[in-house]
């Protein structure tokens, strides 16, 4: 009832406990458990220590170790909206899988695109001795790297630094290569002079307003690659249909317009999957069968691409692999400064066929 020694909440076993049990000094235990070879320890004590540690179920207190060594075995994924958006969270998985192999834990943090929040969060992370930071964006774009992060191992994920001087490695999808591949896919199917791009913005408009005015890089790169791919074969784009946003409704509208023109295109390259879904719908409403009467190619490889009818030929953002590489880089001892471009695999590939 009135026990003077209240049920001690199972105090964690410490190095000293192990040392006591093994009958050696704390440092000896530390040496053994950290597998250091610079100080030789007798076989016998080593075994005693191991036995004692196992028996007691010893786990080192990482907080104490961090305080001592300055390294925490911890990194942070600082993103604008990544865990929110579902667009990009395979990146998180890739990072986690790689980090697990390196015994590193990850703080997840979202800045909501707000500088003050970002600043606060970064300070909080630094105060916790994170060993590195992956600075990530929901969609590929140029970012201003917060100055506080200089000096810390830093990798940009799905974004590139505004000032290229900043010698920071970045991991991005290889959009241009995907654009070229899109050209190749259509050329090989027999398309050539009636390939239309769908999803450019009208002059002066860089993107939808709710994107904080951030400029997505995907459009320019995909289009560049596509054009280059066509040019390499002596072909060129029949034209571009502009939109004011990248949603399904915009795709319907734009595709209806494009497909109603005389000399209707035989293939549409859509800037993303949502536009492509709209295009499929427009085609159906116009009585066009995909891919028999019209081929459609798009980008993102989102879940959407799998549930359309037919499934889209879409170049997928290699998010998991990007996340993996970012984690790998942030833990790498040798610093690199390259931009790592990760290939975008073609998924589905059932919405392309030879032109009628």
């Amino acid at each position: 009832m009135d026990d003077s020694t209240p049920a001690e909440p199972t105090r964690r076993v410490t190095l000293a406990d192990v040392a006591a049990k093994a009958g050696v000094s704390v440092s000896a235990v530390s040496f053994v458990l950290n597998g250091r070879t610079d100080q030789r320890i007798s076989e016998r004590t080593e075994q005693r220590v191991q036995a004692a540690a196992d028996e007691l179920g010893y786990r080192p207190n990482l907080t104490a170790r961090t305080l001592r060594t300055g390294r925490s075995g911890t990194i942070a994924l600082v993103s604008d909206f990544i865990s929110t958006t579902s667009v990009a969270n395979a990146m998180v998985r890739g990072a986690l899988l790689e980090l697990d192999r390196r015994d590193t834990m990850m703080f997840a943090v979202e800045t909501q695109g707000e500088p003050e929040l970002e600043n606060r969060l970064l300070h909080s992370l630094l105060a916790r001795d994170v060993d590195g930071v992956i600075y990530a964006a929901m969609f590929t774009r140029v970012v201003e790297v917060p100055p506080i992060l200089t000096g810390l191992p830093l990798v940009l994920l799905n974004c590139v630094p505004a000032t290229p001087i900043t010698a920071v490695p970045a991991v991005v999808p290889d959009e241009q290569a995907a654009g070229r591949a899109a050209a190749r896919v259509l050329l090989e199917a027999g398309h050539r002079d009636r390939i239309q791009f769908l999803g450019t913005f009208p002059p002066g408009m860089v993107g939808a307003p709710r994107w904080h005015g951030w400029q997505p890089m995907a459009l320019a790169d995909r289009l560049d690659g596509l054009r280059e791919g066509l040019r390499a074969a002596g072909a060129s784009l029949a034209g571009c249909t502009t939109v004011t946003d990248w949603e399904v409704a915009d795709g319907v509208r734009a595709a209806t317009e494009a497909l109603s023109a005389t000399d209707r295109p035989t293939a549409l390259v859509c800037a993303n999957d949502r536009l492509a879904l709209g295009a499929l719908r427009a085609a159906r409403d116009l009585g066009l069968r995909v891919p028999v009467d019209l081929s459609v190619v798009s980008f993102d490889g989102s879940p959407l691409a799998e549930i359309t009818e037919p499934p889209l030929s879409s170049f997928a953002l290699p998010q998991e692999e990007m996340g993996r590489q970012a984690a790998d880089l942030v833990l790498a001892t040798r610093r690199t400064r390259r931009v790592h471009r990760v290939p975008m695999p073609l998924t589905g590939h059932t919405s392309v066929a030879a032109p009628a």
Copy 2:
């Protein structure tokens, strides 16, 4: 060239630095900065300390504080596949938003449903002095709470404990209420005796095999609620169409079957959005217009529900709010043990109309 004092990498400013600058003792600084009132400090020293701290840009080292106090200002979100699946990541956002208000950082961790991995990760988290754990599941189900977690503030998110004895609070969507609401929506539109449920599994089958054999709770609860809602109005379900998975193709198949029957249903209640999308497609192929000739209700409120034609009347999983509540509970001092059921709002609501 041969500078004996190599450019010191901007050593972090410490309590002692502030004390020195302010000309007071470390403890005085600690008192002021932690706003303790039990020891009175003169107005003047307080100001001097504040000034010195501000000027030096002092930030407490949280690792040291953790070692001292045992509390880290850190929790962990331990999930099976949450950040991977995109099904559920609004939960992460909700949690992060709430945690930010409490100056707490979050470790994100995925167990991939593998016990050994889970065990390893949990040990690693405990070794880092996390103040609490949110144990989350990708889809609502019963979980076995790992014993290591007892003693730590713990909240189940989107799951409930296998042994109800375990006095652990849980946050789940209120599926039964959503089921009842689905009944109400249809009854109010004028449907009554020809309401069909779509998405039960054949006897002996609890779920798709790739779900680790985990039993989802959604089906039973949604169906129960629906039945109860109908019964309360003196109506009842016309029947259930079974499927072997919850994908689009299954929806097409099942809906085609259901809609081809004599005495075709006037309304379909689909177990989730993907099935509903399939149902929409089947209806279209059969020449039925939604919602004029057929009403469709579903559950999940996934992004899918917004891009169908028409957008689905879908009861949305309140993921963000669930995440918020879980974070709130894990930081709460007063322990609760209730199951918190969060309402599922009806979204879209354009696929229901009066029967023909």
